[in-house]
Structures are given as C-alpha cells and as structure tokens.
C-alpha cells in the first residue's frame, strides 16, 4: 500500500510517468508538453526523464497532432496526446471522427489505433472564451471512441492508466477546476476498468447522476440536503462511453427519483442521453420525471458571468425540490 496525498494534476503526471516507464511504446506529445511540462504541468519532467523522443513538442497544429498519433499507433506506438484546451481540439475533429474512431472498424480489426487524447476541459477557472468548453457530447456521440472523465485524483490515476492500456482510443477529459484538489491516492490500488460507474454516496430519497467537474457539486448538494433531512445518493459515471447502465439504473430504481448534473450545454448532450436511457429503463420505478441541471444553451460565458452557467448546489437542490415529493 503506497498511500500518498496528491492533486489530480500530480496523479495524472504519475500515471503518465508510470505508464512510460513500463512500456517503451508509450509516447507523450502535443503543444508545450516538453520542457515547459504543459500549461497545466501535467507532463512536468517527462521529457527530461524519458528524453525528447518519448515526450516532445510538435508544431502548432491539432489535426497534425492527432493525425500523427494515428500513424504512430498504426506502427506499434501508444501515443498520448494533449489538446491544450477543449476548444483547441476542434481543428482535429475530422481526424478524431473519421479516423481515430473508425480505423478499427474500417479494417475489420486488422488496424487498431490505441491512443489517449487528453483534453483539459470545462470551466470554473475564470478562463476566457475557447478555454472552458465542455465538449464531451461531441465525442460521446461518435461510435468508436471511449470517453472518460475522472472526478478525483485516485480515479484520474487509475483511469489514465486504464486508458493508456486500452486497445481502443480514449478521449480523456480532465476537469481543469479539479486539477489542484488534493486527496489520498493509493497508487497500488487496482485500476478501475473503463465503463464502470461508482456510487460515491449512499442515499435513499433521490439519485444525483454526475461526472467530472459536477461530481463535487453533487456531493456538496447531498451534504446540504442531508442537513435538510433529505437523503441523496450520488453516482459518479467516471466513464461516459461505455455507459454503466447497470449501476446507474440500479441506483435510480432504489430511490425512484433522479437529477442529472452536468456542466455542458444541455441540448442534445450526454445529459439528454442519461435522462433518455434512465427513463427508458426505469420508467415504472420513477415517481417523477428525471430532471437535468446543465449549462444553459449558450456559448460559455466570460469569467465575470461564468458562475451563472455552472451548475451550483442551489440549482441542484432546486431540481431535487422539483421531484414532485407530494406524489410520494
């Protein structure tokens, strides 16, 4: 047992270091990930430790970075690439959707392109436009990609190890605002498989379903609700694709009420999907329609206004109040 207190940023850095040390084919590259160690320092020290061939800066072009990764993966490497910020992955969209996601299927499994596309994502850090997008829905809607988002340092370490080890491409979403939150991490703990959700707080009255940056919000809301005599269960998806229907539906059936909490714009999103599939599967266990607390259908606001966009504890509790308690 090697317990350590680590921030999520440190846990991610450790995951990269441990994976690169174990497997020489693991490469880390992107913009400013070399000597600088990434604008969030997630790759700090890697180029020094493993050399310029293993962790390196590329010319400034995201389609190029992902396209290069496809070719490297075709020829035996396991690339991990960093998209500097969420919105700066958009130039790589064609490479991600038309090749990363489809190469295995196109070749009937002959060519696989295992790679991890790391995306520092979402808001809460007072960033200017293009630096705070929650872009998970674009990737989750694209078959052939796995999409994961850790909500704590331990999962960040475990999920990144699992993503690098995965035979399939993984879009790895890192909630920026959680980079600096410190926790106990057991680096020797078994790595959680991609595709498994976790009940991170037990509760009996209603279920909060969240992932990534929204999990701490859900947990805090449950804390407050408890003081008001309401017992809220919290499920952390951890993995958006594949989706853990079993855990989520068992949780919702146990309480009969649910609220989905997600930072992204709500329309045609991952949260729409959660509401849809939970309702399809748990309809007759539901005492009220599943509610959503999401970002509004607007471009991400400027720093001074972002607090209006981010799902907060009050908004979550308002949604819980909305779950037609008079019916029970």
């Amino acid at each position: 047992m090697t317990h350590e207190k680590l921030t999520m940023a440190q846990a991610l850095n450790r995951a990269l270091r441990d994976a690169m040390a174990e497997d020489k084919t693991v490469l880390m590259f992107g913009e400013d990930v070399g000597p600088l160690g990434g604008v969030f320092r997630i790759t700090d020290g890697l180029s020094a430790e493993f050399g310029e061939d293993r962790c390196f800066d590329t010319p400034l072009a995201e389609s190029g970075i992902v396209g290069l990764a496809v070719g490297l993966a075709m020829n035996g490497m396991r690339p991990v690439v960093e998209m500097q910020f969420d919105a700066f992955a958009y130039p790589a969209f064609e490479q991600i959707v038309s090749h990363v996601a489809k190469m295995r299927n196109r070749t009937r499994g002959k060519v696989s392109v295992p790679m991890v596309i790391r995306v520092p994502y979402a808001g809460g850090i007072g960033g200017v436009e293009h630096h705070c997008d929650s872009s998970e829905s674009y990737y989750a809607h694209t078959p052939g990609l796995h999409v994961v988002a850790p909500a704590n340092a331990a999962d960040a370490y475990g999920l990144l190890r699992a993503a690098i080890a995965s035979p399939d491409p993984v879009v790895f979403l890192e909630p920026k605002k959680l980079y600096w939150s410190k926790e106990e991490v057991d680096l020797s703990a078994p790595v959680p498989g991609i595709g498994t959700a976790a009940v991170v707080r037990e509760g009996t009255d209603a279920t909060l379903i969240a992932y990534g940056p929204s999990v701490p919000v859900a947990l805090e809301a449950a804390e407050v609700a408890a003081t008001e005599g309401r017992s809220l269960q919290v499920v952390d998806l951890r993995s958006i694709v594949p989706f853990d229907d079993e855990t989520v539906c068992a949780a919702v059936r146990s309480t009969g009420r649910a609220v989905v909490v997600a930072e992204a714009t709500g329309f045609a999103s991952v949260s729409s999907e959660i509401v849809a599939r939970v309702t399809e599967r748990c309809f007759h266990s539901l005492a009220a329609p599943v509610r959503r607390v999401t970002g509004f259908d607007i471009p991400f606001p400027p720093p001074k206004l972002e607090h209006f966009q981010l799902p907060g504890v009050d908004r979550v509790l308002d949604a819980v109040d909305d779950l037609q308690w008079e019916w029970s």
């Binding site: 389609s63 075709m74 020829n75 038309s98 489809k102 196109r106 995965s166």
Partner: protein, 365 residues
C-alpha cells in the same frame, strides 16, 4: 532555419526522360535513365494497370461495383509509386490509387471490396504495407508521417510513399503533414498526382503557385516536378526521392504532371466542365504507347513480349471479374464486432436486437 532555398526549388520544367514519341528526350537533367529490366517491369505493370482500370470500369456498368474512380491515363504514376519501394516500405494510396495498391501486390478483388460495398476496406494493410485507401482528402498524409516517424524511433530505415491529388494539396492537413514531416525529419515521399482536376475544378482554381512542387520550400522540403506520363522519369525521380529519404535527408515532395482521362468517377459528367479536344490532346501523351515505343526502339521489347504481358493482364482481369461476381452474404454481426476490441454492453444489446429481427423475419407482419 537550416536549408538553402536554391536546393529546395524544383526544376523549371517537369523532368522528362522519354518524350511523347518514345524518344530519349527532355533535354539536360541530372536524372539517369533507369535500367532496361526496371523499364520492362514497369511496362508490364502499366499494361496490367490499364487493363484493371478498364475492367473495373466495366464492372460498374454491370452493377458489380458501386462506382470507380479510374486512374486511366495516370498508370505510370501508379506503377512507379509502387515499383520504387522496398518490401519494408509503406504505401498510402487514395481512392484513385487502386492500381498502385495492386502493383504493390494487393489482390484487386480485396482492394475493390470498398467500391463493391461489402466492407470499408478489403485487405490487411500489414500484409503488403499498404494503408487503407483514404477518402477524406489529405488526412492520410498525416498518418503516413506518423508511420514514418515510428519507424525512425524503432531504428528502421523504412520509407513511406504518401499519395494525394492536386486538389488535396489545398487542405489544411496537407500543410500540417508536410510541416510535421519536415520538422521531424520523417522519411516520407509526398507524391502529388496533378491530373489537372479535382472533380470539376481545374488546377487554376486550386492554386496560382508556379507549381505544386514549389510548396516544398515553405517547409524546408525539396520539391521536384516530373512528367507524370513518363514512366522512366517517374522511376528515376521517385527513386531518387526514396533514396534521399532513406539516407536520412528527410521528406521529399514530388509533383507528377498527368491527366485524368476519364470522368472523376462513372457518376460524374465531365462534359459539363471540360472540352473533348483537351482530353484528345492527352491521348498523344499516353504513358503506355510512349514507353512501348521507347522499349521497342531500344530493342528491349518485341511482339512476343507484348502479347505475353497482355495475356498476364488478361489473367488478372479475369481473376478480378470472377472475384467480384461472387456475392458475399453480408453478416450483420460484423457491424458490431469491430467498433471496439470488445463490444460494449450497449452494442451487444443492439446486435441482439438485429438477430431477433432476422429470426422473426417472414413471421407476423
């Protein structure tokens, strides 16, 4: 900033070793005439490629292929691209480069699976080191750079031949691939078949640069121009580029000036955007008659050989016909099998639904 522009700019005119009449020609050039064996091998492959193009075209009319983007008229490029490579090298073809993939040894029946519609790709890319034919323009050029860079990291002296058309050079991915290859010194030969059209759009709408080969200097990559209907010149110029890349001199850009003799595909109507006269003028520059004339003049080819190669080509055409006339029963399970290494629970549910539908077929309703 390392490189001298003068060493990066292409020759003022496309390199030519054999003129349209089949005479040693093209004025003074440092490029050497390939040996007789290489030229005769190229001739045989040209005849096969032409026959394959015509056969595939016929198979569309017979409804065995959905569509076919023919390289009729561009066969010299197709053949040379494959012939200058070693077995350990890689070829990255586009949808139009069926003949190049076949010249590299891939079974045409497998290559044409894409256009037959049975699956997105029909051959194992690792068997002959031929990447899946790329449809999204210029995107494959970056994959080629990645494959080349991986080879260098592994200490292999592999060279990657990355093919694209004139239109594809306008895409951002062309730019990023050229630049990544240059910065990482990746052994890639970017081979642009300039056939003067991108579907209906003429080269003049694609660029106003002195030539496409002039794009190299902006990346620190040497560019060269070659007559795309002169197999001898192509073997020489592409061969030299491959040798430089293999020797560690980094990426190379070669523009072949050729012409798309047929419509973009059978679905296209070329009369809407170009004149017959223009097409006819290119018949005189046909790559096969030109090389045949030269080889006969050199006494390297006689009627017997010509007949023999024609029969070779006929055999391949027959094999292609037979292979494509086989109806493969599509298996819906395939739809769910290769999306991921292991199907997700959701995909298993969905595959089961399809199986259930099939089992109920002919039943109620």
């Amino acid at each position: 900033m390392t490189r001298d522009p003068d060493l990066l700019l292409p020759s003022p005119e496309p390199v030519q070793l054999v003129d349209p009449q089949g005479r040693r020609g093209g004025g003074d050039t440092a490029y050497e005439m390939p040996g007789g064996d290489a030229l005769v091998r190229a001739y045989a492959a040209l005849v096969t490629s032409r026959r394959l193009n015509d056969q595939a075209y016929a198979l569309v009319r017979q409804g065995r292929l959905a569509v076919y983007p023919s390289s009729h008229g561009q066969e010299a490029c197709q053949v040379a691209a494959a012939q200058v490579l070693e077995e350990r090298d890689w070829l990255f073809p586009t949808y139009r480069d069926t003949a190049a993939a076949v010249a590299r040894g891939v079974d045409p029946v497998e290559v044409l699976v894409l256009l037959k519609g049975d699956w997105h790709s029909g051959y194992d890319p690792y068997e002959r080191k031929v990447a899946p034919q790329a449809t999204p323009l210029a995107t494959q050029l970056l994959h080629a750079v990645g494959v080349a860079h991986a080879a260098r990291l592994k200490g292999e002296d592999t060279v990657v031949m990355a093919m694209c058309g004139d239109g594809a050079t306008s895409e951002g991915d062309f730019h990023e691939a050229m630049n990544f290859a240059a910065v990482f010194d990746a052994p890639v030969v970017f081979f642009v078949q300039n056939n003067e059209y991108a579907i209906s759009v003429p080269l003049a709408r694609q660029t106003v640069a002195p030539s496409l080969a002039h794009k190299g200097v902006g990346y620190g990559v040497p560019g060269e121009r070659v007559d795309g209907n002169d197999a001898a010149a192509l073997l020489s110029v592409l061969g030299a580029a491959v040798a430089r890349a293999r020797a560690g001199e980094g990426p190379q850009l070669v523009e072949a000036h050729t012409y798309r003799m047929q419509a973009h595909t059978n679905a296209d109507d070329a009369t809407r955007y170009r004149q017959d006269a223009e097409v006819r003028a290119w018949v005189e520059r046909d790559p096969i008659t030109r090389l045949e004339a030269y080889l006969r003049g050199q006494g390297l080819l006689d009627d017997a050989a010509v007949t023999a190669y024609a029969q070779e080509a006929e055999r391949l055409a027959a094999h292609t016909r037979e292979g494509l006339n086989v109806d493969v029963e599509p298996d819906p399970e395939d739809l769910f099998r290769h999306v991921y290494a292991e199907p997700t629970p959701q995909l298993c549910e969905q595959a089961a639904q399809v199986q259930d539908e099939i089992s109920r077929e002919g039943g109620a309703r």
